[in-house]
């Protein structure tokens, strides 16, 4: 087994050093230009925003803080209290029956014959994407390579399966 040639090692270190120097000067030169031309004039404000955010997060995660963000409300700023399910009563504009506000949406869904019946015929993502393109109006997708936005959906609503973090891609419903 031959001893590694010292000259070669030195030479490759030398080349590497040269390359590294070149890259460092490149970055330094670019930053120098940006700084001199004032293209980064917002740096101070950006750092201040970062600092405030970090501070805010620290305060929120601090266990000694009384949970300001918890959902236990007593009164709102107008001094009012509200039940967990809205109790206001009004007439359904489709059938005329008196419905309480908190149950209005599920009622209207059945009343109008929408919802599950409509969903079995056609999936939401295909029609919404179709509608967007056919109307030629506010199109949120702008690149041929991105996924249609309908796949990036955060839902709300009553928990169907408690404690489950993952859900599969098709919307089965509770």
């Amino acid at each position: 087994m031959s001893v590694p040639n010292e000259d070669n090692t030195q030479l490759s270190s030398h080349f590497y050093g040269d390359l590294l120097d070149s890259i460092i000067v490149d970055v330094a030169s670019e930053c120098h230009r940006i700084a001199k031309l004032g293209l980064d004039h917002n740096l101070e404000e950006e750092e201040e925003e970062m600092r405030l955010s970090a501070q805010a997060r620290a305060r929120v995660t601090d266990p000694s803080n009384s949970g300001e963000t918890n959902n236990k409300y007593v009164v709102d700023i107008f001094g009012q209290t509200h039940p967990s399910i809205a109790s206001e009563i009004f007439e359904c504009m489709n059938c005329g029956r008196s419905i309480s506000a908190g149950r209005f949406a599920p009622h209207l869904e059945k009343c109008m014959g929408k919802g599950r019946k409509a969903r079995l015929k056609v999936t939401r993502s295909t029609t919404s994407a179709q509608n967007r393109y056919s109307r030629g109006s506010p199109v949120s997708t702008y690149s041929p390579f991105s996924n249609p936005t309908s796949t990036h959906i955060l839902s709300n609503g009553t928990p169907s399966v408690a404690g489950e973090e993952y859900s599969n891609g098709t919307y089965e419903g509770p």
Binding site: D18, S22, D26, S29, E30, H32, K36, L37, N42, E45, E46, E49, L52, A54, A56, R57, A58, V60, T61, E68, T69, N71, Y73, D76, I77, F78, I85, A86, E88, F90, G102, R103, F104, A105, E109, M112, K114, G115, A118, T127, S128, N131, R132, R135, S137, P138, S140, T149, H152, I153, L154, S155, N156, G157, T158, P159, E164, E165, S167, N168
Partner: protein
């Protein structure tokens, strides 16, 4: 306020550079221009002899930094550049051959001259394939020379409205800004409530509807249709700004919306962003019918587009020759991917990030940088280059050609795993600022950056359009993918409020900063300050009834 006349400051030349300019003018620059070589990625290098390796006159070395004298074209390395200045009197300014930057040998610093930059950029434009028609240099044919006066939009100025009367509300609750009112949850409709709260307080929309720009009576007369979403939005504004503080049930609105978007008519599992797009869609459709699709300067005049519409530019560059092809697409919002690159492998398992861990934080500017960064397309995505006339590897870069009045940023928080066929919500915290400067993401900035940030007046830079924004609303999502909850934070007259369906409370700005944002709403600074001036106005409806019925579904129509 925010109208900066130049996007950069012109740096003052050092004494030596000034002297050089006086004595030699542009001679050195012009002769150097012939030696400039432009690489496909747009960089300019000084390459006098195509075949010979440049060497230092003193040590004959070719490593390290090499500088070429502007007066005699002698090449020296960084160790010997001072020697050259000493041996030749007056040869004080040189050019870094690798980057084509001016270098003052006596100040020993990089210096700048707009005239030199102009020479470099001219060569770049000349040499890159496509010339001045591509590579980001826009002519006047796409309407860029027409400057749209966005801030003098008709009907968007609250003060011009005749129907507004300043009224003193003697109730104690009047100390709170008008329009602040809870929305009842009608059965898993917090996705709708959260977006409505944000839209209700978007200055252009607010001004439009409160100025009675959509008159229900005239609308019904004209179209004869019984159901008009715009009329319902108008009714919503009336109710929310009436001064009544009991929570409002947007039942009529829901009914109207479901009639228009039958595919989304389901009370369960809805996405706020999808709803937002859908509402703008319906507003556009309805207004287009009424306005007969009148387009001014090629821009749609419906209120949805006037408020939210911007223009995105996409540049696809051939890596081999540098030819760039450009396309434009309108957008009403920008969907951003989280910049997860700063996470270490352990964080991918979605553990909460502790503040003292030095893993770095995801920031909005990081996401915007990711959005506007040059992305190398995979070799399976080769595109046809017009210049090379064959399929080549390319890189793509997005930038913002025209900013909207109201900027809606949507954070994509759903991750799909194709392997496991599952979707997962990304709970990662995202830092976002209250004041946002969008200048670095404009097409003009991106193009400028591609050419080395040279001092050069690009044709289409319109400095009268404001790139500085202030945040006015945040929609936050908490919980899991299929079962979560939306709340909206509103910033009115420098106080933050939390709107959680029917519950409205005051919160400290720290709570908002620490929240898990899903949609961010920014408005151009001048509009923000105007909107927060005077909100002690109550709109009097034509029927002289200041308080519409809360549900809005009993027949009020005449």
């Amino acid at each position: 306020m925010c109208a900066r006349n130049s996007l950069y400051t012109n740096p003052k030349p050092c004494k030596h550079l000034a002297d050089y300019k006086l004595r030699h003018g542009f001679n050195g620059y012009d002769s150097l221009q012939n030696c400039l070589k432009i690489t496909p990625n747009g960089r300019a290098r000084v390459d006098k002899h195509n075949t010979k390796i440049p060497r230092c006159n003193f040590c004959n070395g070719s490593q390290g930094r090499l500088y070429i004298c502007l007066i005699c074209s002698a090449i020296s390395c960084s160790s010997h550049i001072l020697l050259h200045t000493q041996s030749e009197k007056g040869h004080e300014v040189a050019v870094d051959m690798e980057r084509s930057e001016l270098y003052c040998c006596l100040c020993r610093d990089q210096v700048y001259d707009p005239d030199f930059d102009k020479v470099v950029v001219s060569k770049q434009v000349k040499d890159l394939p496509g010339g001045s028609k591509s590579n980001g240099f826009e002519g006047g044919c796409d309407g860029s020379s027409k400057r749209k006066r966005l801030d003098s939009g008709i009907g968007l100025d609250l003060k011009k409205s005749k129907l507004l009367i300043t009224m003193r509300d003697r109730r104690a609750k009047s100390c709170y800004p008008l329009g602040l009112r809870g929305l009842n949850n009608l059965g898993s409709t917090c996705f709708m409530n959260s977006v409505l709260q944000a839209l209700l307080h978007a200055p252009p929309l607010r001004n439009y509807f409160l100025s009675d720009r959509h008159n229900s009576f005239q609308c019904r007369k004209k179209s004869g249709e019984k159901v008009c979403l715009l009329c319902d939005i108008d009714a919503l504004y009336s109710a929310m700004f009436s001064g009544d503080r009991t929570p409002y049930s947007p039942a009529q609105f829901l009914y109207s919306w479901w009639q228009h978007s039958s595919n989304l008519a389901s009370y369960e599992e809805q996405d706020a962003h999808e709803f937002f797009i859908s509402v703008l869609d319906v507003i556009h459709e309805k207004e287009s019918k009424m306005l007969n699709s009148r387009k001014d300067d090629g821009y749609c005049q419906c209120i949805a587009h006037r408020a939210f519409s911007g223009l995105l530019r996409s540049d696809v560059t051939c890596i081999s020759c540098g030819f760039t092809s450009t396309t434009y697409d309108p957008c009403v919002d920008i969907s951003l991917n989280l910049d997860t690159s700063i996470l270490s492998p352990s964080d991918v398992a979605n553990k909460p990030i502790k503040p003292d861990e030095k893993t770095g934080v995801s920031t909005l500017s990081g996401c915007l940088n990711l959005f506007t960064g040059a992305e190398k397309l995979g070799s399976d995505q080769k595109l046809h280059c017009q210049n090379c006339q064959e399929l080549r590897d390319s890189s793509k870069q997005l930038s913002i050609r025209r900013l909207p009045l109201v900027l809606c940023l949507h954070i994509k928080r759903v991750e799909h795993s194709l392997v496991r066929k599952m979707s997962r919500k990304i709970n990662q915290y995202l830092q976002f600022p209250f004041s946002l400067d969008m200048t670095p993401y404009l097409s003009s900035s991106i193009t400028r950056n591609r050419f080395g940030n040279r001092i050069f007046a690009f044709e289409y830079e319109n400095s009268d359009s404001c790139a500085e924004y202030e945040i006015f609303s945040v929609i936050a999502h908490s919980g899991m993918l299929e079962s979560g909850h939306y709340v909206t934070y509103l910033r009115l007259k420098n106080q933050w409020y939390k709107c959680d369906d029917a519950w409205v409370s005051e919160v400290d700005e720290g709570i908002v900063r620490a929240s898990q944002c899903y949609m961010l709403f920014y408005v151009q600074k001048p509009l923000f300050y105007k909107a927060n001036e005077d909100t002690r106005c109550v709109r009097i409806s034509p029927r002289r009834d200041p308080f519409s019925s809360t549900a809005g579904c009993s027949s009020n129509a005449k």
